[in-house]
C-alpha cells in the first residue's frame, strides 16, 4: 500500500465523477452511455490502485443484527464505530469506489453487476454504518439498492432497504448529530474539504430523497395515506432546505391537495393550496437550483400554464367542499333537509373545538415568515362544510374567481378538453349553490346561467372528435332545463291564478329539455341513423335515464287541446314501454335503473287507462 500515488488516485476519481455527471443526451446519439463506460474504466483503475479489500479479521458476532445477518444485515447497529487506522481507511475508500461502480452499472441497465458492487460496498462499511465518516455513503448505497430491487419488481425488498436508511438517519441524528462527511470528500485534498454547512446540506438532501423513494414504495404497496404523508414531508423538506423551484413546488403542492380533497381532508387540502399560492408568488425572486429541469425559453409559458393548473385545483376544492355539504344535508329527493341542517350546525361547535388538535397532527409547511404568509391565505378560506347560503356563496365566489383565472390560460382554441372541464366545473358550482338557495326564482336564474355557458360549447365542438364531451354537455343542459321546468311548475303551483305567460314558459322549457335529451339519444345512432339494438354499457344508464325523462316530459306538456294531449300521452307511453321492453331483453340494464324501471312499469299499466278515459271524454264533447 506504500507506493499508492495519492494525487493520481484523486485525479482519476474526480475525472470519473465528472464523466458520471455528464448528461446522457450529450453523448453521441448512437452511444448514449459512452460517458458512463469511460467513467467506469477510470473507477476500475482507481480500484486497482487502492489494492485489495481488507480481510474480515476478528469477525465479532454481531448479535444486534436482525435475522438474515450477513450481507443484507439491515438491523440498527448498537454502537458508533469510526473507521480509524489504515486498514479501516482503505476499506472505506474502496467502499466509495464500489458505490460509484454500483451506481454506474445500474445507470447502464446492468442490474446484477450493480447489485454486486453495492452489496460489496455495504459489506466493507458494515462496522462503521453509524459513523460520521460513513453514514451518508451507507444510506446512499442502501437507497440505490432499494431502487434496484424496485426495478426487479421486488417491492418489499426495496422497502426493507429504504426503511433501514430512514431508521439509520434518525438514529444518527439522535446519537451523533454532527453533519457527516460527504462520500466525495474521500478523494479531495484537505483544502478542498467541505464546510459543515455544505455537508449538512448534502446529507439532508440524501435523506429527502430517501423519503421520496419511500413515498413511491408505499404508493406501489397501495398504502396511499402513508405515501401522501411522505410526499408531504418531501415537499416540506424542499422548502426547509431551500432546494426547490417555486413553480414546480407550487404545482406539486397543489396536486397533493387533490389527494386530500378526494379523502375529504379539507384542512390539509387548504394548507397545500395556500402554500402553493404563496410559493408560486415567489417566482422570479428565487434563482433556479440544480433540481430545476425547465429550459430558459419555456419559463414564461410554463408560468401561465401552472398558474391555470393551480387555479383548477382550487376550483375542485371549492366544488368538492360544497358538494360534500349538499350530500350530508339533502333528503331523498335532493332538496335541503332542515333537520339534517340543524344536526350539522350542532356538530359545528365540536368541529371547531377539534381544529387545533387536527392541525397539530398534520404536516405543516414552513416556519416563521412562510408560516404566517400561508396562514394569511388560509384565513380567507373555510375548510368546513358550508351549512347555509351565505357560507356556500363565499366558496362559490372563490371557485368562480379561479374559474376565470383558469380560463385565461385554458382557452378553447388549443386546450379544448381542459377548457370544457373548467366550464363544467363552473356549471357545477352554480348547480350546488342552487341547492342552498331558498328562493325559487333565483334558483331558476342559476340554472339559466349554467345553460348559457354550456350551450355555445355544443355548437363550437366537432362531434366527431369530441363525442364523449358533447354527450356530457347535452345531457347536462337537458337536465338543467328539466330542473328549471320543475321549479317553474312549483312557482306556478303557489300562484292562485297561473297565467298563460308562465304556462308558455313551462312548455318552452319542456321543449328545450326534450330537444337536448333527443340530441343526446341521437348521438347513439350508427352512421345509418339506426338506434342500437344493444346499448353499450358505458352509455347505458344515461341512455335509459334520457328515455325516462323524455317520457316524463311528454306527460308534462300543458295543452288545452285534447287531441294534442292524447298524442303526448301516447308518445310518453311509447317511451316508458321502450324502457320496460329493453330491460326485459337485457337484464343487466334493469340493474342500472331500478327506480326508473319501477316507475316505468307503473306508467305502462296506468297510462292506457288514462288515455281510454280521455278518448271517451273527447267522444262525448
Amino acid at each position: 500500500m506504500a507506493n499508492v500515488p495519492w494525487a493520481e488516485v484523486c485525479e482519476k476519481f474526480q475525472a470519473a465523477l465528472a464523466l458520471s455527471r455528464v448528461e446522457l443526451h450529450k453523448n453521441p446519439e448512437k452511444e448514449p452511455y459512452k460517458s458512463k463506460y469511460s467513467a467506469r474504466a477510470l473507477l476500475e483503475e482507481v480500484k486497482a490502485l487502492l489494492g485489495p479489500a481488507p480481510e474480515d479479521e476478528d469477525e465479532r458476532p454481531e448479535a444486534e443484527d436482525g435475522p438474515g445477518a450477513g450481507d443484507h444485515a439491515l438491523g440498527l447497529p448498537a454502537e458508533v464505530v469510526e473507521p480509524e487506522g489504515p486498514v479501516a481507511q482503505r476499506a472505506v475508500r474502496l467502499a466509495v469506489i464500489e458505490f460509484h461502480l454500483g451506481v454506474n452499472h445500474i445507470d447502464t441497465e446492468e442490474l446484477s453487476a450493480g447489485e454486486e458492487h453495492l452489496v460489496k460496498c455495504l459489506r466493507l462499511l458494515r462496522r462503521y454504518r453509524l459513523s460520521h465518516d460513513c453514514i451518508s455513503l451507507c444510506i446512499q448505497a442502501q437507497n440505490n439498492l432499494g431502487i434496484l430491487w424496485s426495478e426487479r419488481e421486488e417491492i418489499e425488498t426495496a422497502q426493507a432497504y429504504l426503511e433501514s436508511s430512514e431508521a439509520l438517519y434518525n438514529q444518527y441524528m439522535k446519537e451523533v448529530g454532527s453533519p457527516p462527511l460527504d462520500p466525495t470528500e474521500r478523494f479531495l485534498p484537505e483544502e478542498e474539504k467541505l464546510t459543515e454547512q455544505e455537508r449538512s446540506k448534502r446529507f439532508e438532501k440524501v435523506y429527502t430523497h430517501n423519503l421520496y423513494y419511500l413515498a413511491q414504495v408505499y404508493q406501489h404497496l397501495e398504502m396511499f395515506e402513508k405515501a401522501a404523508h411522505y410526499c408531504h414531508s418531501t415537499l416540506k423538506r424542499q422548502l426547509e432546505h431551500n432546494a426547490y423551484h417555486p413553480i414546480e413546488w407550487a404545482i406539486n403542492a397543489a396536486t397533493l391537495s387533490q389527494f386530500y380533497i378526494n379523502k375529504l381532508c379539507f384542512m390539509e387540502a387548504r394548507h397545500c393550496l395556500s402554500a402553493a399560492n404563496v410559493i408560486f408568488g415567489q417566482t422570479g425572486k428565487i434563482s433556479a437550483t440544480e433540481d430545476t429541469p425547465e429550459a430558459e425559453g419555456e419559463v414564461p409559458e410554463l408560468y401561465h400554464q401552472r398558474k391555470g393548473e393551480i387555479a383548477r385545483c382550487w376550483i375542485k376544492y371549492c366544488l368538492t367542499l360544497m358538494q360534500n355539504a349538499q350530500l350530508s344535508m339533502q333528503d331523498n329527493i335532493g332538496e335541503l333537509d332542515l333537520d339534517k341542517q340543524s344536526e350539522l350546525r350542532a356538530l359545528r361547535k365540536k368541529e371547531l373545538d377539534e381544529e387545533e388538535s387536527i392541525r397539530k397532527k398534520a404536516v405543516q409547511f414552513g416556519t416563521g415568515e412562510l408560516c404566517d404568509a400561508i396562514s394569511a391565505v388560509e384565513e380567507k378560506v373555510s375548510y368546513l362544510r358550508p351549512l347555509d347560503f351565505e357560507e356556500a356563496r363565499e366558496l362559490f365566489l372563490l371557485g368562480q374567481h379561479y374559474v376565470f383565472e383558469a380560463k385565461e390560460f385554458f382557452q378553447i382554441d388549443g386546450y379544448v378538453t381542459d377548457h370544457i372541464e373548467v366550464v363544467q366545473d363552473h356549471s357545477a358550482l352554480f348547480k350546488v349553490l342552487a341547492f342552498f338557495e331558498t328562493d325559487m326564482e333565483r334558483r331558476c336564474k342559476m340554472h339559466k346561467r349554467r345553460i348559457a355557458m354550456l350551450e355555445p360549447l355544443t355548437v363550437d365542438l366537432n362531434p366527431q372528435y369530441y363525442l364523449l364531451v358533447n354527450r356530457q354537455i347535452q345531457f347536462e343542459i337537458a337536465h338543467a332545463y328539466y330542473d328549471m321546468m320543475d321549479l317553474k311548475v312549483a312557482i306556478a303551483d303557489r300562484l292562485r291564478d297561473p297565467d298563460s305567460h308562465i304556462v308558455k314558459k313551462i312548455n318552452n322549457l319542456n321543449k328545450s329539455a326534450l330537444k337536448y335529451y333527443q340530441l343526446f339519444l341521437d348521438s347513439l345512432r350508427d352512421p345509418n341513423k339506426v338506434f342500437p339494438e344493444h346499448i353499450g354499457e358505458d352509455v347505458l344508464r344515461p341512455a335509459m335515464l334520457a328515455k325516462f325523462r323524455v317520457a316524463r316530459l311528454y306527460g308534462k306538456i300543458i295543452t288545452a287541446d285534447p287531441k294534442k294531449e292524447l298524442e303526448n300521452l301516447a308518445t310518453s307511453l311509447e317511451h316508458y314501454k321502450f324502457i320496460v321492453d329493453y330491460c326485459e331483453k337485457h337484464p343487466e340494464a334493469a340493474q342500472e335503473i331500478e327506480v326508473e324501471l319501477e316507475l316505468s312499469k307503473e306508467m305502462v299499466s296506468l297510462l292506457p287507462t288514462k288515455m281510454e278515459r280521455f278518448r271517451t271524454k273527447m267522444a262525448l264533447t
Binding site: T108, I147, T255, F259, D291, D460, N462, Q464, Y465
Partner: protein, 288 residues
C-alpha cells in the same frame, strides 16, 4: 362495418443468433387463432392458452406450411384496413412488444423480395386502387405525415432538421393535432417509400452494451386519404376523408409508468430517482 371494431393479432418470430447460440427453447405454440405458452420453469405444467383474432406462427420458415408470411399478415389485416379507409372510416394499427420482438419487421419489413411489411404493402395497394379507378367523377388525394415521440417530445421525421419540439394542441373543430407537423402530398407509392425511408433514417436508434439496437421512440405514420365525388348532374361535390394511422411503438420494456390508469402489460414498480418526478408521483396519488 361488420364484426368487432378492435382486433388483436399476435405474431412470433424466429430465433435470433444470440438465442440460437444459447440453444433456447421455444415456449410458444399456436393452433388456429390460439396461442399457448409453456412455463419454462415447469414444463410439466399444462400450457396456458389465449385466443386472439389472429395468431401468426412465423417462428419457422416459408417451407413450413403453417408459416405466416408478411403477405398473409397483410392480407388478413392490411386489406381490411384499406377497405374501411375507402368506406370513409379512420383506421389505426399499433405494433406492441419488446425491443427486438419484430414490430418494425411486421410494420415496415425489409426491402427484399416478399419481405415488405404492412405499411409498404398498404400504400402500394392504395395507389393501385387509385390508379385503377375509371370513374371520372372520383378524384383522390393522399397526404402523409411521419412523427416520432421520444422522451415526451414530438419530432417531425419528414423535417428532422426542425429540432424543435412540436406542440400537441386541440382545436374545437379540427380536433387534436400536432402543430406545424409536415403534411406532404404524394402521388405514387414511390413517393411514400422515399419519404418513409428518409423518415426511418431520422429515427432515434441507440446502442448500449445490453442491446444491439434499442428502439426508444414511438413512430406514427399517418396517411390522410381524401376521396372527392363530383356529381356532374347536380354539379355538387362530396368528400370523404379518412385517416390511416400506423404506429410502431417503442420497446415495451421501457414502458414508462406515468400513473395512467387501467391495466398495463408491465406494471411498473420502478422508483424514479430524481426529485423532478415528484410531480408525477403526486399526480398518481391524486388519481387514486
Amino acid at each position: 362495418m361488420s364484426g368487432a371494431s378492435v382486433k388483436v393479432a399476435v405474431r412470433v418470430r424466429p430465433f435470433n443468433s444470440r438465442e440460437t447460440s444459447k440453444e433456447s427453447k421455444c415456449i410458444i405454440q399456436m393452433q388456429g387463432n390460439s396461442t399457448s405458452i409453456i412455463n419454462p420453469k415447469n414444463p410439466k405444467e399444462a400450457p396456458k392458452s389465449f385466443s386472439f383474432d389472429y395468431s401468426y406462427w412465423s417462428h419457422t420458415s416459408p417451407e413450413d406450411p403453417c408459416f405466416a408470411s408478411q403477405n398473409r399478415v397483410y392480407n388478413d389485416i392490411g386489406k381490411e384496413m384499406l377497405l374501411h379507409a375507402f368506406e370513409g372510416y379512420n383506421v389505426c394499427i399499433f405494433a406492441y412488444g419488446q425491443t427486438g420482438a419484430g414490430k418494425s419487421y411486421t410494420m415496415m419489413g425489409k426491402q427484399e423480395e416478399s419481405q415488405a411489411g404492412i405499411i409498404p404493402q398498404l400504400c402500394e395497394e392504395l395507389f393501385e386502387k387509385i390508379n385503377d379507378n375509371c370513374n371520372e367523377e372520383m378524384s383522390y388525394s393522399v397526404e402523409v405525415s411521419y412523427m416520432e415521440i421520444y422522451c415526451e417530445r414530438v419530432r417531425d421525421l419528414l423535417n428532422p432538421k426542425n429540432k424543435g419540439n412540436l406542440r400537441v394542441r386541440e382545436h374545437p373543430l379540427l380536433g387534436p393535432y400536432v402543430e406545424d407537423l409536415s403534411k406532404l402530398a404524394v402521388t405514387s407509392y414511390t413517393d411514400i417509400a422515399d419519404l418513409m425511408d428518409a423518415g426511418n433514417k431520422a429515427r432515434t436508434v441507440a446502442a448500449t452494451n445490453m442491446n444491439e439496437t434499442s428502439s426508444r421512440s414511438h413512430a406514427v405514420f399517418t396517411i390522410v386519404f381524401t376521396q372527392k365525388k363530383h356529381d356532374n348532374e347536380t354539379n355538387l361535390s362530396t368528400e370523404k376523408v379518412s385517416k390511416i394511422s400506423l404506429v410502431d411503438l417503442a420497446g415495451s420494456e421501457r414502458a414508462d409508468s406515468t400513473g395512467a390508469k387501467g391495466t398495463r402489460l408491465k406494471e411498473g414498480a420502478n422508483i424514479n430517482k430524481s426529485l423532478t418526478t415528484l410531480g408525477k408521483v403526486i399526480s398518481a396519488l391524486a388519481e387514486v
